[in-house]
C-alpha cells in the first residue's frame, strides 16, 4: 500500500514536470493556432542552455533560471519574428496557415541537427550538483528531491503565467488576439508582435521546464522527441490552449506511468496513455479544460 502512495506522489511530481514541458506548446497554440512541431527542440535547446549555464558558472541549478528565462524568451521571440512571421504574412489570406506547421517541422530538424553538429551525439549529465540523488524521507517513503523542486516550479510558473495573462496590458492583448485576432487588430493590437511575445513566453516556460529536468535527466540532441509526443498528448488531454489543462494532463500521464507498473507490466502503461488519449478525443475532443468556442 505504501508503495502505491509513494508512486502516486512521485507520479504527481514527475507529471507536473511533464505538464510544465507542455505549457509552452499550449500557450503557443492558444495564441498562434499553430501546433509547434519544434516544441521538443525548444526544450532540447533549453536543456543545453541550462546545462552550460550551470556548468560554466557552477551555480545551483535553479539559480541558472536567471539566465535561462531571458535567453529562451529572446530565442523564442526571434524564432517567431525572423522565421515564422514571414510565413504568416505570406499566408495572410489563408484561413488555416498549414505552411507554418511545416515550417516548425523544419525548425525541429534544423535545431536537432545543428545541436548534433555542435555538441555531438553523446549524452551529457550535469553530474555533481546539489540536487543529485537527493531524497526526501517521509516515514518509510522516498520522494525525489529534484522532482519536488520541479513540482513547486511548475505550480509557480503556471500561477505566474496566469497572473500575467489576466492582470497586465500585454497579457490581456495576448488573450484578445487568441480569441479574435481581427477584432484585436481593431483595438490597435499588432497581431505579429503578440505572436512574437507569445512565442517568447512559450519558449521561456519551456526553458524553466528544462531547468527542472536537468538535475536528473541527460541532455542529448534528440532528447526533445521524448517529450514532444508526451507534450502533444498532454495538451490534447488537458485542452489545447489551457494552462491548467496542461498541468492536469501532465499529472494524469505521470500517474499512469508511475502507479501503473505496480499493477501490470511497465510497457502496458504506454498503451493506457494512448488509450486514454483516444477516449478523450472521442468523448470530449476539446479536452478536459478546453473551450468549445471557436469564434
Amino acid at each position: 500500500m505504501l508503495y502505491v502512495l509513494e508512486d502516486t506522489i512521485n507520479g504527481i511530481l514527475m507529471g507536473s514536470i511533464y505538464g510544465l514541458t507542455a505549457m509552452g506548446l499550449t500557450i503557443i497554440f492558444g495564441v498562434l493556432k499553430v501546433i509547434n512541431f519544434a516544441h521538443g527542440s525548444l526544450l532540447m535547446v533549453g536543456m543545453y542552455v541550462s546545462y552550460w549555464a550551470i556548468r560554466l558558472t557552477g551555480v545551483h541549478p535553479y539559480v541558472a533560471l536567471i539566465l535561462v528565462i531571458p535567453i529562451m524568451f529572446i530565442f523564442g521571440y526571434s524564432l517567431q519574428k525572423i522565421i515564422i512571421r514571414p510565413i504568416f504574412i505570406a499566408e495572410k489570406n489563408v484561413r488555416e496557415p498549414v505552411t507554418v506547421i511545416i515550417v516548425t517541422t523544419g525548425i525541429w530538424y534544423i535545431l536537432d541537427n545543428l545541436t548534433l553538429l555542435l555538441f555531438g551525439p553523446q549524452y551529457r549529465s550535469l553530474g555533481n550538483n546539489p540536487l543529485q540523488g537527493k531524497m526526501l524521507e517521509l516515514g518509510e517513503m522516498f520522494i525525489s528531491m529534484p522532482k519536488l523542486y520541479g513540482f513547486v516550479t511548475a505550480l509557480v510558473t503556471a500561477a505566474a503565467v496566469h497572473w500575467f495573462m489576466h492582470k497586465t496590458v500585454m497579457g490581456r492583448a495576448i488573450r484578445a488576439t487568441s480569441m479574435d485576432r481581427e477584432a484585436a487588430s481593431l483595438m490597435g493590437i499588432d497581431q505579429y508582435k503578440i505572436y512574437n511575445v507569445a512565442f517568447g513566453i512559450g519558449a521561456a516556460t519551456t526553458g524553466i521546464a528544462a531547468v527542472t529536468l536537468i538535475p536528473f535527466y541527460n541532455v542529448f540532441p534528440t532528447v526533445g522527441v521524448l517529450f514532444d509526443i508526451k507534450g502533444f498528448i498532454i495538451v490534447v488531454l488537458g485542452g489545447l490552449g489551457s494552462i491548467t489543462g496542461a498541468l492536469v494532463g501532465g499529472v494524469i500521464i505521470g500517474l499512469i506511468e508511475s502507479v501503473g507498473p505496480q499493477f501490470m507490466t511497465a510497457t502496458w502503461t504506454e498503451a493506457i496513455v494512448y488509450g486514454l488519449f483516444l477516449v478523450v478525443l472521442f468523448v470530449k475532443p476539446s479536452g478536459l479544460f478546453g473551450q468549445k468556442h471557436d469564434w
Partner: protein
C-alpha cells in the same frame, strides 16, 4: 477640410469588386448614416477605412493625412475606431477586460481609468456586469460593450457597423438612444445601418449605397421624406 474625406475609393474581395469610385466625407461633429440593402458594400466600406481590407484605388484622407495604406492597428492609433458588425467581443474575457483592451493604443492607455468611468456613467449596465464573461451577456448588452469598447479607444471618429443588428425593437431604441447621447457629447459618428428610419432620424447627413456606389446623398431629414427611400427602404 473634412475630418474624413474619401475620394474615388475602389475595393475588391479577390476578383470581385465590391466598391466602385466611392466618394464620401464626414465633418467634425457630424453623425453620418450609410444606408443600403444587403451586399451594397456598407460593411466593406468600413473595413477598408479601418484597414482590414486594402483599398485597390482611391484615397482615404483622415485629419489631412492619407491613411489608405496604413495597418489597422495604426489607424486605430490615429483615432478611427471601428465597432464591427456582430459585436466581435472577446467571449472568454470579462466585460471590464473587454473594455480595457479597447484602450490598448498608447493615446488611450494613459487615460484608460478615467475613460472607463466615463463609459460606465454612459452605460451603467456595464459597471454592474463588469466581472461577467462577455459570452454570457444578452445581445443588447453585448452591443453596449462593443460600443463602450470602441469609446475606450478615444476615437476622433466612431464607426458603427449595424449596431441594431439582431436586436429586439425595445433594445434597438436603447442602442440608438445611446448613439444619440454619444453624438450629443460631440463625437463624430459614421454609422452603417439597415434600420433606416432610426438611423436617419438621429443623423445629420446620409448616403445611400447600392452595388458599391453612392446613389444618393443629402441631409438626413430630407432623405427621410424622399420618395425613393420611402419606397425602397422604409416600405411605404
Amino acid at each position: 477640410m473634412s475630418l474624413l474625406d474619401i475620394h474615388n475609393l475602389n475595393a475588391s474581395y479577390g476578383d470581385v469588386q465590391v466598391i466602385f469610385d466611392l466618394s464620401l466625407k464626414v465633418n467634425q461633429g457630424e453623425v453620418v448614416s450609410i444606408i443600403g440593402g444587403n451586399g451594397a458594400g456598407k460593411s466593406t466600406l468600413l473595413r477598408v477605412i479601418s484597414g482590414l481590407l486594402p483599398a485597390s484605388g482611391g484615397q482615404i484622407i483622415f485629419e489631412e493625412k492619407e491613411i489608405q495604406k496604413d495597418l489597422p492597428e495604426n489607424i486605430v492609433a490615429q483615432g478611427i475606431v471601428h465597432v464591427p458588425e456582430g459585436r466581435r467581443l472577446f467571449p472568454l474575457m470579462s466585460v471590464k477586460d473587454n473594455l480595457m483592451v479597447g484602450a490598448y493604443n498608447k493615446r488611450a492607455r494613459e487615460e484608460s481609468e478615467q475613460t472607463l468611468q466615463e463609459v460606465y456613467s454612459l452605460l451603467p449596465r456595464l459597471e454592474e456586469r463588469e466581472d461577467q464573461l462577455a459570452m454570457t451577456l444578452s445581445g443588447g448588452e453585448q452591443q453596449m460593450v462593443a460600443i463602450g469598447r470602441g469609446l475606450m479607444a478615444k476615437p476622433h471618429i466612431l464607426m458603427l457597423d449595424e449596431p441594431s443588428l439582431g436586436l429586439a425593437p425595445l433594445l434597438i431604441k436603447d442602442i440608438f438612444e445611446t448613439v444619440r447621447k454619444i453624438a450629443d457629447q460631440g463625437m463624430t459618428v459614421l454609422m452603417v445601418e439597415q434600420d433606416v428610419r432610426h438611423s436617419l432620424s438621429l443623423s445629420d447627413r446620409g448616403y445611400v449605397l447600392e452595388h458599391g456606389r453612392v446613389v444618393m446623398e443629402g441631409q438626413a431629414d430630407q432623405m427621410i421624406d424622399d420618395p425613393h427611400i420611402r419606397e425602397a427602404y422604409l416600405g411605404m
